[in-house]
């Protein structure tokens, strides 16, 4: 009898906690994914196969896996702020400061990132890797540059950025930004491929001015603020991720 009572009490508790969390959870989610909700990063229903799971189910599952397997280093928001951040070198990647293509995320999750602490993640099923990649690619990204903060119109920025890129970045990051410059093979982790990742302006500025400790990316204090903005502008045009197939399970 006591056992039954205990069971009943615990199930009541479960119901109460469930109701509470159901009431709170959507608000937390809403705040986090407001940007994602009304922009092209959201998986469109047409992208999922009719017989397959809905887009929301993929993202829900991806979020669950992210919080279970990734958040202890990359942080619950994915911004690299976590309990483990100080123990890793280079520090965990800030997934919210970069646009990342899903195919690249899948690749890194499966193969790891040699030279860093990111392990090859062989434990999950194919489906889990795809879902968590879909979710990671849609993490809230930092805001774009307001137009009044831009030093010049876009075409000027692109041209200046291209010249700066050719002079300062090309030996490692490569002519087309694929991370395959003539000096790329000297470095581990390999230089970033800008066709797979596109930095936000704040992140690019921070990285150019401070370098990335634990990698061979040096601080590059030679560039002025307008030049950093221009080269970031150009680097963002190299990104091909949006054209990569996304949100679909094979």
């Amino acid at each position: 009898m006591k056992v039954i009572q205990g069971q009943r009490r615990s199930s009541t508790l479960v119901i109460v906690v469930t109701l509470f969390s159901l009431a709170v959870f959507p608000f937390a989610l809403l705040a986090q994914s407001q940007v994602a909700n009304n922009d092209p990063r959201m998986i469109r229903d047409s992208e999922t196969t009719p017989s397959g799971p809905s887009a929301n189910a993929i993202l829900e599952n991806g979020k669950r896996i992210f919080l279970r397997d990734c958040a202890h280093c990359h942080g619950q928001r994915g911004d690299g702020v976590s309990l483990n951040m100080r123990t890793l070198h280079p520090a965990p990647f800030d997934l919210t400061s970069f646009e990342l293509s899903e195919s690249y995320i899948r690749h890194v999750v499966r193969e790891g990132l040699p030279g860093s602490d990111m392990p090859a993640w062989h434990l999950g099923s194919e489906e889990e890797v795809n879902d968590v990649s879909a979710y990671t690619a849609r993490l809230e990204k930092l805001h774009p540059l307001p137009s009044q903060e831009s030093y010049a119109p876009p075409d000027v920025m692109r041209e200046a950025g291209h010249r700066i890129y050719k002079m300062h970045c090309v030996t490692c990051h490569g002519e087309h930004g694929e991370g395959d410059g003539p000096d790329a093979s000297k470095h581990l982790p390999r230089p970033a491929s800008f066709t797979e990742m596109s930095p936000a302006f704040t992140a690019a500025r921070h990285i150019i001015q401070n370098g990335v400790p634990g990698t061979d990316m040096p601080s590059w204090p030679l560039l002025t603020d307008p030049e950093i903005q221009a080269v970031t502008f150009y680097i963002q045009t190299l990104y091909m991720g949006s054209s990569a197939p996304s949100g679909r399970r094979p």
Partner: protein
């Protein structure tokens, strides 16, 4: 029973996620948003001698400009400095910024830093052969390097530039080293224009372009209508060579020899520049 456990686990995870999502602090990508430290906060204790003494000069922090009328003026000065054709539009006749030559916000040694410049004047000018004020010196820059017309002596632009230059020195503790003035001294050399063209094509044209027009306002023009005029200091090969030797090419400064720097500067000076208006010789 097992399913209850699973459910409980999921619920706990969900609650943690909900709480975590709202409580984890956002990483500040820019360290500049940290609150300013207050070195004077403990000055009533015996900490005076234990305070760290600045041994090297540190560039001032733009985020520490006070939110006052003076602060507004300092900020305007900084904007004029970095985007001259935009913020001093009616007085500028080309596409050069002050910061194109006075590098890193006028704080870099051997790139004509202006830290505390108001305290250097009046001084004797070799060019004018008389004592000049800082206003006069700024007019020389505006009428020559900026190919423009003089700023009003008591206008907001002039006051802003004074405020900015003073502030560059204000934020430093007294007695510390500041960036040394002027440019790196060079001996007299003989120019080889052909060699200069080769150096220019190899090392400079990537950013400044084979046409020397740059991409203003990001990359400065070196000749043509957007550039400084033929009265500017940069149009003197020896002066420009001193600048180039220490600061260019920007992706590998210091990689040119003195001769290369002088040759390329002579080559650039041999290209067409706007004409200086000698009416402004009064400054």
């Amino acid at each position: 029973m097992k399913s209850t456990n699973l459910r409980l686990n999921f619920v706990i995870l969900a609650v943690m996620a909900a709480l975590g999502a709202s409580s984890v602090p956002r990483a500040e990508a820019q360290s500049t948003s940290r609150p300013p430290s207050q070195p004077g906060a403990n000055s009533n204790t015996l900490a005076v001698s234990s305070q760290p003494i600045a041994r090297t000069w540190t560039p001032p922090d733009l985020t520490k400009i006070p939110h006052t009328a003076l602060g507004e003026s300092i900020l305007l000065g900084w904007r004029i400095f970095e985007e001259t054709p935009k913020y001093a539009a009616q007085y500028v006749g080309n596409k050069e910024n002050c910061g194109n030559c006075h590098l890193q916000g006028a704080t870099l040694t051997y790139a004509m830093p202006l830290v505390g410049a108001p305290a250097w004047f009046p001084q004797f000018s070799e060019r004018a052969k008389k004592m000049i004020s800082l206003e006069d010196r700024i007019q020389e820059c505006v009428t020559r390097s900026e190919n423009g017309t003089p700023l009003p002596h008591d206008g907001p632009e002039m006051r802003a530039l004074f405020a900015f230059m003073s502030w560059l020195a204000d934020s430093q503790p007294a007695g510390k080293p500041a960036p040394s003035r002027g440019l790196f001294p060079l001996p007299d050399l003989k120019a080889d224009l052909d060699h200069g063209r080769k150096v220019y094509t190899d090392k400079c044209s990537g950013c400044h372009g084979v046409d020397g027009a740059g991409v203003p306002p990001i990359l400065p023009p070196l000749w043509g209508p957007g550039a400084y005029n033929d009265g500017a200091g940069m149009n003197q090969p020896k002066k420009m060579a001193s600048f180039v030797l220490r600061n260019m090419p920007q992706n590998n400064p210091g990689s040119l020899t003195r001769q290369e720097a002088f040759d390329v500067s002579s080559y650039i000076a041999s290209k067409p520049h706007p004409a200086y208006n000698h009416d402004y010789d009064i400054y």
